[in-house]
Homo-oligomer: 388 residues x 4
Amino acid sequence: MKSLQPQRSDKFTFGLWTVGNRGADPFGLPTRPVLEPVASVRKLGEIGAYGVNLHDNDLIPIDATSADRDLIVRDFKSALKDAGLVVPMATTNLFTDPAFSDGAFTANDPGVRAYALQKTLAAIDLGVDLGARTYVFWGGREGAEVDAAKDPVEAIKRFRDALNYCCEYVRDQKYELRFALEAKPNEPRGDLYFATTASYLAFIETLDHPDMVGVNPEVAHENMAGLNFLHVVAQAIEAGKLFHIDLNDQKFGRFDQDLRFGSESIKTLFFVVKLLEESGYDGPRHFDAHAYRTENADGVWDFARGCMRTYLILKDKARQFREDAEIQALLAEIRASDAADEALLAPYSRGSLAQLRGRQFDRARLASRTLPYERLDQLVIDLLLGVR
Amino acid sequence: MKSLQPQRSDKFTFGLWTVGNRGADPFGLPTRPVLEPVASVRKLGEIGAYGVNLHDNDLIPIDATSADRDLIVRDFKSALKDAGLVVPMATTNLFTDPAFSDGAFTANDPGVRAYALQKTLAAIDLGVDLGARTYVFWGGREGAEVDAAKDPVEAIKRFRDALNYCCEYVRDQKYELRFALEAKPNEPRGDLYFATTASYLAFIETLDHPDMVGVNPEVAHENMAGLNFLHVVAQAIEAGKLFHIDLNDQKFGRFDQDLRFGSESIKTLFFVVKLLEESGYDGPRHFDAHAYRTENADGVWDFARGCMRTYLILKDKARQFREDAEIQALLAEIRASDAADEALLAPYSRGSLAQLRGRQFDRARLASRTLPYERLDQLVIDLLLGVR
Amino acid sequence: MKSLQPQRSDKFTFGLWTVGNRGADPFGLPTRPVLEPVASVRKLGEIGAYGVNLHDNDLIPIDATSADRDLIVRDFKSALKDAGLVVPMATTNLFTDPAFSDGAFTANDPGVRAYALQKTLAAIDLGVDLGARTYVFWGGREGAEVDAAKDPVEAIKRFRDALNYCCEYVRDQKYELRFALEAKPNEPRGDLYFATTASYLAFIETLDHPDMVGVNPEVAHENMAGLNFLHVVAQAIEAGKLFHIDLNDQKFGRFDQDLRFGSESIKTLFFVVKLLEESGYDGPRHFDAHAYRTENADGVWDFARGCMRTYLILKDKARQFREDAEIQALLAEIRASDAADEALLAPYSRGSLAQLRGRQFDRARLASRTLPYERLDQLVIDLLLGVR
Amino acid sequence: MKSLQPQRSDKFTFGLWTVGNRGADPFGLPTRPVLEPVASVRKLGEIGAYGVNLHDNDLIPIDATSADRDLIVRDFKSALKDAGLVVPMATTNLFTDPAFSDGAFTANDPGVRAYALQKTLAAIDLGVDLGARTYVFWGGREGAEVDAAKDPVEAIKRFRDALNYCCEYVRDQKYELRFALEAKPNEPRGDLYFATTASYLAFIETLDHPDMVGVNPEVAHENMAGLNFLHVVAQAIEAGKLFHIDLNDQKFGRFDQDLRFGSESIKTLFFVVKLLEESGYDGPRHFDAHAYRTENADGVWDFARGCMRTYLILKDKARQFREDAEIQALLAEIRASDAADEALLAPYSRGSLAQLRGRQFDRARLASRTLPYERLDQLVIDLLLGVR
């Protein structure tokens, strides 16, 4: 099916760390060889991706000299050009090095906080140099196992200071760059601060430049807490804060699986794709996942193709949903509303209050309205399973 | 121990629905007789509570006449006075009646939404009449099992409209009343909108009168999602939005247990009590829990006394923590910071940037700092277990 | 599609309590009228079910006289005959009445244990009278919130005594009846004993007549603990102990949702249906679920039809899986094995040991085998989504 | 307090991999230097441990020559002797090497299965040589992400073949060695086969030599699935199958945390310690945990001391529980039983049946029994918090 071939216009992106994941885990050694960034870029271009994202150290080793860096960046840009790819998003690795073992922006040691900031500014420069318009913050070490050791109120203040600093820097540099904050409830820390996307939405409003900052919700991260990812994305969209999105998959209530997009949460992710497509979101569809540890180097590309393919299948089903007469008729019935009732919901005034107060409601009648949700949900299941 | 006797000044409160819970559950009939509100008030006064909270229909039957209502309120006020109790918080029952089966403020049917609003205004009047200064919103039916049926973006807008209406009403009436929003991830709905306290913190900033609105975090509700309740409360406090708190307990990742405060999450709740006591929070310590179904009418009061007792034990341990020289010395070591490093964290300016950029960080040295968290956490365990 | 019309031979069954569920929950009143057993039977016959299952008190009120009972049974049998339905399974309600608030077979009070046994024997008689060949035990109150109160070792012994008694009774009565034990991790108790199907599999081997006793795994119950239901059913089948199965659906790590079969866990339930159909399991496909509380009386039947329809869709996809040349070729590649390697796995003998010890394994070669699981899983997703 | 000093007779053991854990995790590099086995042994002796356990490759590198091996073993035995430690348990690493990426005993490739068996036999020899009497099997790679790829029924058969082979080997060698099977629900695989201890209890009964095989329950692993660990251990003890135990801690429903024993689940672990001490279990108390990644080399020993200390504190509280007159009086009241009721529970006979059938039960009276569990549980909380 032609519509299932990824196009640049689909804006599918992958991180260097996703296709470059070597299959190591807490109980096992790597199973795949190193994949050079330049090779990733070439291959991503071939399979129809739009862009590639990166942490600073995905591309530039943490101990690289300035000369090394320049050479690497030059070659990488050249590979991007050849492949027809862009770098829409960049981020900083503030979790791998033991210096960050107790946090980066929230560490108790001001030396660590300062180093994290310095490293981030350099990574912002790198990202902007590569063309990124979105910069993601994921605080992989911002959390605690021992709540006696770090003050969770102070942690928020420290994180705010860091974000405000970065915002000022970007403004001063006149970069066209927005920030997107990425939440996760736990792992690698026992509990991470800003455990959910909503936590960041609340935090953003307390920043000096809230307009520059949005969120980057990730399926797996909200699934870890058993939350409804559709509702998470909906709140971000409603707030005008969906600046980026990390698509993958995950079973609820367990370790961070980073599975191929759509391989588990089929129904919820159908609604997420539908919402993304219908909401006007025009940012990247970023796949933050990796191949099973059992895959070899080739299997990584089966994984990558699968992410995009399932997205496109679900997108096409969203179209079918809109065009399905029976579904639409049922929705119309479900959403039918009475104008007199609507009128009672006018904004507050003494007049509207009097109207509302004067109405006698018949609870039994309200309760008797038909809500054929089993029928509707079964139509969705039929649609998803391809029997409509 | 004298310090374990509840005093009015401890501001312990219970809901009529908590001590009045009759022990019914999805698989079983009630095991306890009806407890009249007036009897609850008398007994709560005896055991040292400060106040009692209520849903409108905890006190006034949904089909009461105006005359019934007046009589009930008169007797209830009299009982409050006799018992020396106040009503610091009130709320609306928008979940029991079948009229609300698909939501109240977020229902698709505008008639339901209007009725919910009308009912809430009446309940606000009742609460204010009884002296309440805080009004809680818990949207027990605001959610979905079938995401095709309700638009989660629209749901937020509807909820906002309702809140804005209520805020205007309270302002127009010149009531001294603040709102506190209470989140829950699921149950009774498959997924509730505004699944976490943080979700409400974000939402509040989008209201017309955000200053009037805060949150009412509940231990059990955040535990259901496996979140760290200390971190949840910390964010609310840092945002100046902790208007009320629901104290109970719950194992992670399961049905809403509403267990006696401190009966499960001993360590986390120690830190929560410590934070409440040290943060300047001066609102009620509300116990939103109920006795096991196996208890009879007397056991309800064992339950209620246990909630207060454990709070006071943990409060006393917070004092010990502050006064424990070994713990404080360890904390001082952990939090010791270098002034030169601190200086690097000055707010952004071209000057501070130059300073930060110019610093050469020694990653190995940063990583080598001693972080004796196992020792600290064991001291906390020793303190909690009473062996210090 | 003809294959999606339920036939008697599909052996679809429902409990009286499932279609008769009135939509009450811990926070809300019933939303649907009482549905008489006789009406349920008639309607189940119309929609193509094979049978109907029941707790004693689904049919006979707990305080019915003997004469009442006889009349009810007579009418019910007549309805079954008219509808062409059978009663393949029966069970006892040992959870609704307050007498069982702290357990039935595991209660501390021997009076409660004896009453539970007496009630169960009567319910067994009723079940056999109605033609049941399988008798289910679900210990809804066998558990604890307070582990100090009940000895969990003693609880197992008490449950064993009860089961042994029932087995002897059935043998003495010469009933053709097998027992199936149904596990659940929690709800309504804080923790239920025998929390998982596997726990019962282990327990069965300690009974006096283990051959008479098997398990009745339920999707929702294992999902509550985040377990893989396919693996649960596989162990039961491998042990020859799958005597019955409860099909429904549920999100992980939350309250008991009892959702329409296949409405959430699409991929896992595809593999479960495939395993049931291919394993030779010939018992009932019992749907232990209920309609959303938002449904009215008609919606219950949409729910019931949906359960059967989704099962049949998944069954048809299992056929496609077997007939799909690409999938089968991939599986053949994945499962290809070397005869010399197979030979090393002969049962233990000094000779086979010498062979095994003498072999030099090349770890790198073993690690290099291609395992194209991303490709295979994507083919499954394509199959499920109907794009193959 | 003297009773809090670990003694050899307490039988506290640690794995080489626990104190030797270097602090790496999926997102971070090691933070601690290599700790040589000989150094671990020396230090464990100093802090009062009884023994040390190991995987083959904790001591012998996977690519060691036979001569290397002999030298390492000689030095290790010498260190054990010097430290006064024993090796009560050993196991095989069947998860780190990429050869095992899709399983060891359950891999599709018979070459992998044969290699796993060969490696296990060599590790058994090593364990026995070091004096081990218990041999643990943890199938870290026995599971799946892709259920299409591996047959879960076949996986059980393969695992059984491997276990039967090992049992025959041990018998033929006349080793005094028992096997203990360790379950885990997931991680590193998406789902592990034999997800719970109970699953292994059921499996054991299907082996050729079930008497040789028991279980090794781990706190963290059952907590990951939200199960009640006390109930898990109780079933193992009741079945006579508690051959070993892995003590640590963990929050429910998340990644494998392996926290210091007793640092989270205070109440449940109190009951577990009480059960271990009172049940006659005389095997090792093995701590399968590791220090936080933030600890340096010294902190590892704070961690190890903390595990033992908390165990001893809880053990002492179990003694207090037994000696507490109020608690014991309450338990006596709760467990009081009527002799006439007890008599109704005689084993099945026609006579006992007639007795049971003839009894008229008063449901209301049964329901009215006082069950003062809130009071009892609060006494436990008081005891745990040291205020009794």
